[in-house]
């Protein structure tokens, strides 16, 4: 105890000293640790150091993942519920590009219409519109838009308010790809979402939505909404008309609109009323644009514009024009995605993606007479694997009718309906080039009637007098033809998908023709002067008679019919009996030889004698009469 250096000399101090001596270092560290733990800031930075690694490990570990996710999801969910508006705002940047795209699409449509308008501006119609603009004070482009606006309501459905169930629907095309019930329910859900998120009043919900290339208008009523899928750009007035229609529907059906939907499903009156929603406006004259006449006017207009605008701006305008035209062209074409387009020194550089199935670039440019030198393209290949997209793309690529059906099962594509030969060839060679399709089943497909008749005509080498008429699954052959063609044609085996030849109509025609010939020839008289000398008239008629007989025989053999031809020789009453027989026979033999010389077949021809009158000279009996009839047996 005396070892203490301190004056008050307390033993505690000694102990402390001892502690310091032995544990000094540890105590110091402990103190520092203590400070670190109690100081919030340094604790925070410690955690921050290990947190990323810890989180990574948590997220990567399947066992702890749900435990980790749950609070995160829960807090996000809570935040969305408490403050929907700011989340809706956060979503806006995502919606933005989609909306911009929609606007750009609309604008490109506008440019197309304005182009059409410029062409019109040098026509009488264009002048009229200019006058209208001057008279009304409405800007010219707006007048043009008003006149060229094209649209069609493709389908319309009446949706029950709230439940989103469909009360009635009508559509233009018989085959519909849409799941109407799902679309109707989604539109209803979107309305609710928008109403709730943006605090809109209940009577001011979703009015219009973009659905691919289509616009959907939703018109709201107290018990039901009318949704119309529209292609093109309908004028605003149509909306008012549709609103009136919806009001009529409400007035007529009242409470029934709020009851179970099947109550209205068979109502013809409702369907008929709904049919009125399928409005359209088509200005066909605007569609066919670049005719030669217009080209001339273009040049005129171009010269005029030159005066006003100067050369430079014309060039810029033309560049822009070209760029628009080409971009629109590619965008409208399935299998192309344009990612960039820029004009460089008069050359348009286009880059993007191209499906190998798509039309070749050169052919596409050529189809619009765009000089290949003006456009440089750089496409990377891509292929969408979506079944629907594949089918849709194929359907568009082969521009198939709505009545054709396309079905992709596994890797076999089944097509039924009416196709062109081009479509046939394209579809048949599809497995060679398509990544997903291994085989194409065309058993249910048929060649279109026009081409089928052409194929038949060529294969049979049919004369112009023969015609081919589709009748159901049969191609009826009618008109007229000679017997040998008929015989030969029936032997030819040709396969045209979906078609069977029917020769019956032609056969009936030929049979009738044969009957006419027989009627015409039967009883024809060939008059003789004396012995085997024909009168000049009769001699002159031989050629016609010969060819008629040839035709008749030809037809008969083609039709499997048999002809009995009889040449009956006669003589006048002078001379002996032997003499008369001899003369009669020699005359019929003479006529036979003359006719055989003109192509008639001897087979089936018989010669007979007529009786004669012993009493006197009857020059008119110096003759041969031809009898012809169809016989049942050879």
């Amino acid at each position: 105890m005396k070892k203490s250096r301190k004056t008050d000399g307390q033993p505690v101090d000694d102990l402390q000293l001892l502690r310091d001596l032995i544990l000094g270092e540890e105590k110091d560290r402990l103190h520092k640790l203590d400070l670190r733990v109690s100081d919030l800031e340094s604790r925070t930075s410690d955690v921050a150091e290990v947190l990323p690694a810890a989180m990574n490990r948590l997220v990567g570990d399947p066992a702890s993942k749900p435990d980790f996710e749950r609070p995160v999801v829960e807090s996000i969910r809570g935040a969305i519920k408490r403050d929907t508006e700011s989340f809706a705002e956060a979503l806006f940047p995502v919606l933005g590009p989609a909306i911009r795209r929609a606007i750009a699409d609309a604008l490109s449509g506008l440019v197309q219409r304005i182009n059409a308008a410029l062409e019109h501006s040098f026509t009488i119609k264009g002048l009229k519109w200019r006058l209208e603009a001057a008279r009304t004070g409405v800007p010219f482009p707006q007048i043009v838009l008003r006149h060229t606006m094209l649209y069609a309501v493709q389908e319309a459905f009446l949706i029950q308010r709230g439940s989103g169930l469909i009360l009635a629907s009508v559509h233009r095309d018989e085959l519909l790809a849409l799941d109407e019930d799902a679309v109707a329910a989604m539109l209803t859900a979107i309305q609710s979402f928008i109403q709730d998120s943006f605090g809109m009043a209940a009577d001011e919900p979703l009015r219009s939505a973009e659905l691919g290339e289509r616009t959907v208008w939703v018109i709201n009523g107290p018990a039901a909404a009318l949704a119309c899928v529209i292609s093109g750009s309908p004028p605003r007035a149509v909306r008012a008309e549709l609103m009136v229609l919806l009001e009529t529907l409400h007035a007529r059906y009242g409470n029934r609109l709020s009851e179970k939907p099947e109550g209205l499903s068979g109502d013809e009156g409702l369907r008929a009323l709904m049919g009125e929603a399928l409005r359209e406006e088509v200005d066909a004259s605007v569609r066919s644009s670049t005719s030669f006449k217009y080209k001339f006017l273009w040049i005129m207009g171009g010269l005029l514009l030159l005066g006003f605008l100067g050369y430079a701006s014309i060039n810029a305008w033309r560049d822009q024009q070209l760029s628009r035209q080409v971009v629109d062209l590619f965008q409208a074409e399935p299998g192309f995605v344009i990612t960039a387009a820029e004009m460089d020194d008069g050359i348009l550089n286009i880059s993007g993606l191209r499906d190998p199935q798509a039309v070749p670039v050169a052919a596409l440019l050529d189809s619009q007479q765009i000089p290949a030198g003006k456009v440089k393209t750089d496409f990377s290949p891509y292929q969408s694997l979506d079944r629907e997209v594949i089918i849709q793309r194929l359907q568009r690529r082969f521009s198939l009718d709505p009545i054709t059906t396309f079905n992709l099962e596994g890797d076999e594509l089944t097509v039924s309906g009416t196709l062109t030969s081009g479509q046939f060839a394209g579809l048949q060679s599809l497995p060679d080039s398509h990544a997903l399709i291994r085989s194409v089943n065309l058993d249910g497909a048929r060649l279109n009637a026009e081409e089928a008749s052409r194929v038949f005509r060529e294969a049979l080498d049919a004369p112009d007098s023969v015609s081919f008429q589709p009748a159901g699954a049969q191609m009826a052959v009618s008109g007229l033809a000679d017997g040998s063609w008929f015989t030969a044609a029936r032997e030819v085996a040709i396969e045209v998908p979906g078609w069977q030849l029917d020769f019956m109509p032609l056969q009936q025609n030929l049979s009738a023709q044969l009957n006419d010939l027989i009627e015409n020839l039967n009883g024809r008289v060939f008059q003789y002067v004396f012995e085997t000398r024909l009168t000049p008239e009769s001699a002159a008629s031989l050629d016609v008679a010969g060819s008629e007989l040839v035709t008749a025989q030809d037809l008969a053999s083609a039709l499997g019919a048999h002809l009995n031809v009889t040449l009956e020789g006669s003589a006048d009453g002078t001379g002996s009996r032997e003499r008369n027989i001899e003369v009669s026979l020699s005359r019929s033999r003479h006529l036979l030889e003359e006719l055989v010389a003109r192509g008639m077949t001897e087979q089936g021809v018989t010669q007979t004698l007529a009786g004669w009158n012993e009493s006197g000279i009857e020059p008119e009996r110096r003759k041969v009469t031809l009898f012809i009839e169809r016989s049942a047996n050879p």
Partner: protein, 172 residues
């Protein structure tokens, strides 16, 4: 064809979306992608009395809360308009979700009395981890038709949907 709107309601992550996917597409995915708003699917079911098209509204999860305003939000109310039937879903491994399902049922019965409803106790494949007492289950099945389902294995899923469809048609 007759069509009916049905909704799946329940706390979040109980497996509503998975049940619809199992019933409509016959698949299961163990990833969890939470539903915001609602997701709509349609399916045609063949009953003895003929085909019915079900328009299925798979709703976003409700919060496990006692506050009524938070339980059924204004957005959810909008979605539920005009519904014909409801599938209440709870997760057997989380007792709180059962309470939420019962509260949602009470709310529906208040808002549109007589709406056909069935209760699905989901995740039956995890029965060893269930937090429900036999007493709970017994009480439940007295007031509501219950099915213990698994979107993972598919067990009882078709049965539950078809039962509701049948009841919907009978309650014409």
């Amino acid at each position: 064809m007759i069509s009916r709107k049905i909704c799946l309601l329940g706390a979040f992550s109980v497996g509503k979306t998975s049940l619809v996917r199992r019933f409509v597409h016959e698949v299961f995915d163990d990833r969890y992608i939470t539903t915001l708003g609602t997701k709509i699917e349609t399916v045609v079911v063949q009953l003895d009395s003929g085909p019915v098209k079900l328009v299925i509204w798979d709703m976003e999860g409700a919060e496990n809360t006692d506050d009524e305003a938070d339980l059924v939000t204004s957005r959810m109310k909008a979605y539920l308009q005009g519904l014909n039937g409801v599938l209440l879903v709870a997760d057997g491994t989380r007792a709180a979700t059962l309470k939420t399902a019962r509260r949602l049922h009470q709310w529906i019965m208040g808002a549109s009395p007589g709406t056909p409803a069935v209760l699905l106790l989901n995740k039956a494949d995890l029965k060893t981890q269930w937090q429900l007492s036999p007493q709970d289950l017994k009480e439940l099945s007295e007031s509501l038709k219950c099915f213990s389902t698994s979107a993972l294995s598919g067990s009882n899923v078709d049965k539950a949907f078809l039962h509701l469809a049948q009841v919907l048609l009978e309650s014409k």
